[in-house]
Amino acid sequence: MGKRRHEIRFLLNGEAVCLPEVGEQETLLDYLRIARRLTGTKEGCAEGDCGACTVLVGLLTQDGLRYETVNACIRFLASLDRCHVVTIEHLCGAGGGLHPVQQAMVDAHGSQCGFCTPGIVMSLYALWMEAAALSDAEIETALQGNLCRCTCYEPIFKAARAAAELGKPEADPLALERADVTTRLEALADGARVDVAKAGDRAILSASVADLADVLAEHPEATIVAGATDVGLWVTKMMKPITPAVFIGHLTELRQIVATGSSLRIGAGASYSEAEVALARAFPHLLPYWRRIAGWQVRNMGTVGGNIANGSPIGDTPPVFIALGATLHLRSAEGVRALPLEEFFIDYGKQDLRAGEFVEAVDLPLAQAGMYHATYKVSKRRDEDITAVAAGFAVRVESGMIAETRIAFGGMAATLKRAAKAEAALLGQPFVEASYEAAAEAVAEDFAPLSDWRATAEYRSLVAGNLFRRFWAEQGAGQVAKLEAV
């Protein structure tokens, strides 16, 4: 038996925190506000939507210490082991006064009621650390996960632009304490399995991926928690028990993204933000879609593997990955197996996941020369919204004829599914508009969508058909990516 530890250890601002009793349901936000009276971080929605609770979490990665914005309301306390939590109270300028981002927010009249302001300051701070010259699009992306009801955002954008001209990131207090924090976090990474409990609630952090398989063999009923962007709501909204919870966000080996000659292998624990960097190289045309998955904080927390394992019929990544011909890798103490991603989704709430098994990685084939590829997300809001209909299209044309198709939809059925009848309508047909019209009609037979508050069944059906027309129109206008040989 490997080393065991029965306490959670992390850094909070300048202080080392050691908690012997932690339940798996305790959130960082409640810990900050109630246990520590660090009330600068606010609760707006308690579901990772409004960003009023934005804090920075620093973690050691292969590339060193990296800080990212997260929603403290759905970040579980136990998952912070080996991390550095930075709240608004820790933020200050080089001389101890206002930080350039804070000063710019004051100068630009970026606050009115002020309730969203600490969260916005933290998001802008993370952006300020990353980039000197900012485009409007970058500022908008950084603020996707921060709702402000008063200012209409323009003063905040002005503040973001102005802050970029103020101060030097290398003189920033977080930058100055970087080496010290790195040393302290390295000292916390003791390679132990962490097992803590409080009043019958239990949280386990496995020591490694191999140990994760062992933990799940011991506790097949456990809830696996990666980014908690969905499981967090089971707790904060539904008050569902998730004990014992097995946290995996700290497993660096599960976050690895490796490009081999023929495929891009994304570790299940890689966040959307981490995957974005690799996807930007391999499939740059995916970026606009990718950045419409939730907001910045949720993309920093949520994982590719979680989005798949969760099996939600409106998961954003599977339609894209299925269209790319993804292979899913599963692992347990019994061994490993692989299957085409679309076969993983069996029915609503039912995935091809055996007891003790977990998603280890997803492989995306890189050699897809000649494949037209497009992805679409339809939702009520442009940014940070849950999908009504999502689609991934992949179509290969040979000598004017459609030779291969992989077209997958989300939001159209109880599971994420390929549009078999629409694909059949296209396959072997000439690459002309009439073929797409036929597919747009055929897709109605593939799905019988539900009506809910995001869209009616009629709307979803209409949209699904129209996405075939859009794909045709956009490829005609040269707006659809044609994949090249690697």
């Binding site: 609760e43 927010m105 100068d107 309730f115 969203c116 302001t117 402000c148």
Partner: protein
Amino acid sequence: MSKFGHTGTDAKHDSAIKQVTGRADYTDDIPEPIGTLHAYLGCSKVAHGTIRALDLSAVLACEGVVGVLTATDIPGINDVSAVHAGDEPVFPDTTVEFHGQPLFAVIAESRDIARRAAELARVEIDALPHVLEPLEAIAAGYPDVTAPMTLQRGDVKAGFEEAAHHIKGRMAIGGQDHMYLEGHISFAMPAEDDDVVIYASTQHPTEAQVLGVAAHSVVVKVRRMGGGFGGKESQMNLFAAVAAMAAKKWNRPVKIRPDRDQDMTATGKRHDFVADYDVGFDADGRIEAVEGQWAARCGFAADLSGPVWRTARSFMRTMLTFTRMCASGHAP
């Protein structure tokens, strides 16, 4: 400062530095004295019905639960109507009027205990029919919750007779939540005699009638709000009343902080409208007469539907001056 005061100067928000550093205090940020209790609401899952049983024994049996408040525990008048219409109980006696209506409050040592305990109530309601759309409500003969009013100017009938052209139609305008970032948080501190001090995120403090004490006994403090936008004009009354009643009953500070979902479902929000319009105009497109029939979805009680409805009809003119217009309708 210029000779016109702050006009033309770049005056900063007086709380800006506190806000950007997280040091601006909102209601939930006030330190809780030792002994602070937490309240949470138990709400109806039925839109309309008769309460047959409200069994809170399992709630009361939870470790950490101090007590519950129901309609029978209200010392004063069971009404939080901001316009004193007498139609908006803190908790209903017999009839549930909307999905999400608060039926009782749990008071416990922590918010988490109170929230989880509230789920254990056994509520039996005999469902009655309900309608959700204003036009359906009018068709079904539902009464107006606030007196209809007509806004009229000039001889509309003559205007339509003179007009060469007409456009008639119907438009629907959706409702929305006000989406203040800070929820309806209220914190009540008991004091001597009948006194109670309430810290609340409210735009409109009026609770004394519920407590059954003189108005001067109730002090309401609002340092700042995390947004209101009209959503806290009257809707805070219930939350503040619950905190205040509990604070007096148990003689301990009591805080209530609803989850966002409950905040949205337990309160009524900005109305949606259906408007039938008729516009008469001449060959040059000059408007001769306008008539609008407005139906607002007001919910189960008057609340501020009267002013909202009046405002909507006044704004029908936007920046134009109609010499002959008539706006009327229903507020079901």
